[in-house]
C-alpha cells in the first residue's frame, strides 16, 4: 500500500518536472522566434524602403520630395500621374506602354517556342556535332553582350531594320537566348524520357511528342522563361536606345529617360509616378505566375 503511494508520488514528481521543462523550452522557443522575426522584418524593411519611398514620393509634390526623407506624403497629390501620363511629347504614356507591348509580345511568344524546340533537340536527340554545337551555345552565355553590339548593329543596319522593332525580337525567335535554352535543357534532363518513348510507341512523330507530351511537362519551366523574358524586355534600356530613333516608337524604358531630357527643370514627381507605372506590369505578372515560376526554377534539379 505505502509502496504504491510512494510510486505514485514519484510519478507525480516526474510529471511536474517534465511540465516545468516543457514550459521552459516553450518560453525559449518563443523568445528566439520573436528575435528572429524582428531581425527579418528590420532587414526586409530596409530592402523595401527605396521602393516604398518611390511609391510614396510619386504622390508628393516636387518641393516635398527633397525636403523630407519619409515615404508617407504629407499632402498627397495625383498631379505627378496626370502630368506624367501626358508627357512632354505629342504622345501619352499609353502609347509607350503599347510600344513596349509590341516588343514584348512577339519576343516572349517566340522565345518560348524556339527555346523549347531547341532545348528538346539538344536534350533528346543524338546528331553529329551535337557536343560542339551545345558547347558553342554555352560559350555565347559567357560572352558579354556588349561585345556583339557593334557587329549586330551593322548587321541589322545592312538589313534595313533600324528604327524598327525587328532587331529587338527577331533574334529571340531563333532561340538567341542561350540562357533559356540551357535552363530548359537542364529541366528536360531531369524528366525521364519514358513518357516520350510511350508516345512514340503510340505513334507520335517528334513534333507531336514535343507539342503534346514535352511541352505540357515543361510548363513550369516555360512559364519561368516567359516571365524572365517579360521582365528583362520590360527593363531593357540599351536595346531600344540603340535601335530606335523616332519618339513614336519608344517603349516605356526610353520614354522615362525622355521625360528627364526634355524638361528643363524636370518634375521629379512625374518621373517617379511613371516609374511606378512602369514597374507595375512586371510586378503583376510576377505575382500571377509566382507559383509556377518557383516550381520552374527549383524543380530543375530534383523533379524525376
Amino acid at each position: 500500500m505505502s509502496q504504491t503511494m510512494l510510486d505514485d508520488s514519484a510519478a507525480l514528481d516526474a510529471d511536474a518536472e517534465a511540465a516545468r521543462h516543457l514550459a521552459l523550452q516553450e518560453r525559449r522557443r518563443r523568445l528566439s522566434m520573436i528575435l528572429r522575426y524582428a531581425v527579418l522584418t528590420a532587414v526586409g524593411f530596409l530592402m523595401l524602403y527605396p521602393l516604398l519611398w518611390l511609391i510614396g514620393a510619386s504622390f508628393k509634390n516636387n518641393a516635398e520630395i527633397f525636403s523630407s526623407p519619409g515615404f508617407i506624403p504629407k499632402d498627397p497629390t495625383l498631379s505627378g500621374y496626370v502630368k506624367g501620363w501626358e508627357t512632354s511629347t505629342p504622345y501619352s504614356f499609353g502609347r509607350f506602354f503599347w510600344n513596349t507591348f509590341l516588343i514584348i509580345a512577339p519576343k516572349v511568344v517566340f522565345t518560348v517556342i524556339s527555346c523549347a524546340a531547341v532545348a528538346y533537340g539538344f536534350a533528346r536527340f543524338q546528331f553529329p556535332g551535337k557536343r560542339i554545337l551545345f558547347a558553342s551555345l554555352i560559350a555565347t552565355l559567357l560572352l558579354p553582350n556588349v561585345v556583339t553590339r557593334i557587329p549586330q548593329y551593322l548587321l541589322f543596319s545592312e538589313m534595313g531594320w533600324l528604327d524598327s522593332y525587328l532587331p529587338l525580337w527577331v533574334p529571340s525567335a531563333f532561340a538567341g537566348d542561350a540562357f533559356f535554352v540551357f535552363m530548359l535543357v537542364q529541366f528536360l534532363r531531369s524528366i525521364p524520357p519514358d513518357m516520350e518513348e510511350a508516345a512514340r510507341v503510340d505513334g507520335a512523330k517528334s513534333w507531336q511528342v514535343l507539342l503534346f507530351i514535352v511541352a505540357p511537362m515543361l510548363t513550369p519551366a516555360l512559364i519561368s522563361v516567359a516571365l524572365f523574358q517579360f521582365m528583362w524586355t520590360m527593363n531593357d534600356f540599351l536595346g531600344p536606345l540603340i535601335y530606335l530613333s523616332s519618339v513614336e516608337k519608344f517603349p516605356v524604358s526610353l520614354a522615362l529617360k525622355l521625360s528627364i531630357d526634355t524638361s528643363e527643370a524636370f518634375d521629379w514627381n512625374r518621373i517617379l509616378a511613371m516609374s511606378v507605372l512602369a514597374l507595375a506590369p512586371s510586378l503583376v505578372v510576377f505575382f500571377m505566375a509566382q507559383k509556377y515560376f518557383i516550381e520552374g526554377i527549383s524543380a530543375g534539379g530534383v523533379k524525376g
Binding site: 543524338q126 519514358d194 513518357m195
Partner: protein, 372 residues
Amino acid sequence: MAQLSIRNLEKTYGGGFKAVHGVDLEVADGEFMVLVGPSGCAKSTTLRMIAGLETISGGHISIGGKVVNNLAPGDRGIAMVFQNYALYPHMKVRKNLSFGLKLAGEKKAEIERRVAEVAEVLEIEPLLDRLPRQLSGGQAQRVALGRALIKKPEVFLFDEPLSNLDAKLRASMRVRITELHRRLKAQGRSSTVVYVTHDQVEAMTMGDRICVMKEGRIMQVADPATLYERPENLFVAGFIGMPEMNLVEARLERGPEGHALRFGDQVLRLGPEQNARIAANAPEEVTLGLRPQHFRLAGPDDSHALEAQVGKVDFLGHEVDAHVTIGGAKFTVVLPVELFREASRGGSIRLRADENRVHVFDRASGANVSLA
C-alpha cells in the same frame, strides 16, 4: 500473323561497347515469351530494339514477316508497357488510353467505344477521369496495360512491368496479365507477347517459353519445365530455381557400375537414368549440380547416404532451407520442417540425393554433359 523473328541481332553503342551479341529468337504467333536474366544482360535493350526505341547495329527484326528495322515505333504494330508506367502526367486516364488512337486518326465514336471496352476488361471505369498522379501503383499499371491493349497491336512488349509493385499486387497482376493473354488468344486476336523481367518467378509462372540471357547472349530458350529439369549450362542451372541449385566442383569417375562423382571424401553414384545420359566425351573436371529440393532424409541403413553437418537454418514455415556441409562442400537443402527437426538432433543429418536428377557440367565450358 504476328510471329516475331529476330535474326543475328546486334547492338553496339557509340563508345564501342557491344551490348547484344548476335541474338536469334523466334516467337510464335500468340506465344508468351519471357526474356529473363540478371541486370545488364541486355534483355531490356533487346526489347527496346524490337520496339524501335533503340537503333539496331546489326541483324534484323521482323514482325508478321515484315522487316521492321527502319520503321518508327508507331508503325511496327507493337504496344509497350513500361516499368514506371510512363503515363502522360497531364492527361486524364481517358486521354492516356485514347492518345494513340487519336494520333492514328480514329473516329471519336470508335475511340469512345474502345476506351469503354478496355476500361471494362481492366476494371478501370471509375478511374477514367483521374489524373495519373491520383492513381495507386496497381491502378497506374492497369491503365498502362489498357493503353497497350486499346491499340490492338500485333505484339505486346512488357518491360519489367511489375517490378514497381509490392509483392501481393505483383502476384495478382501476374495472374491478370496471363488471364488477359489467354482471353485474347481465345478470341483469336493477336496476342504475341515479349515480356522482360529479372524475376524468375514471373518468368516461370507466366511464360509459354523463356529465353534466359546473359551479357547480351542467349543461354537457353525453352519452356519452364525444360528449363528447370534440363538446364543446358551452368548459368541457366544457377539462375533458375529457388534456392539456387547447388553447384560443387567434383571429379567424374567411370567405374564398372557406371559413373560416380567424387567431391571431398564423398562419392555420389549416379542413378541409372542419369548414368545413361552422360556424354561419352565428358571430361573429368566437372561441376556437380543438384537442386536443394532433390534431397531427402536417408534411412538408417542406406548405403548411399551422405553425412551432412548442419550449419545455418532458414525457417520458412512449411519447410526449412538448411545450409549443410557434405564432404567439405557447402550445400543448401530444402526439407519439410517436421522431418528436419527430428533428424537434425546433434548437428548432423544423413541425406540421400536423388541420383537421377544430378546434373553434370563441364567445368571448363559450363555445358551440361548429362543431357544426352
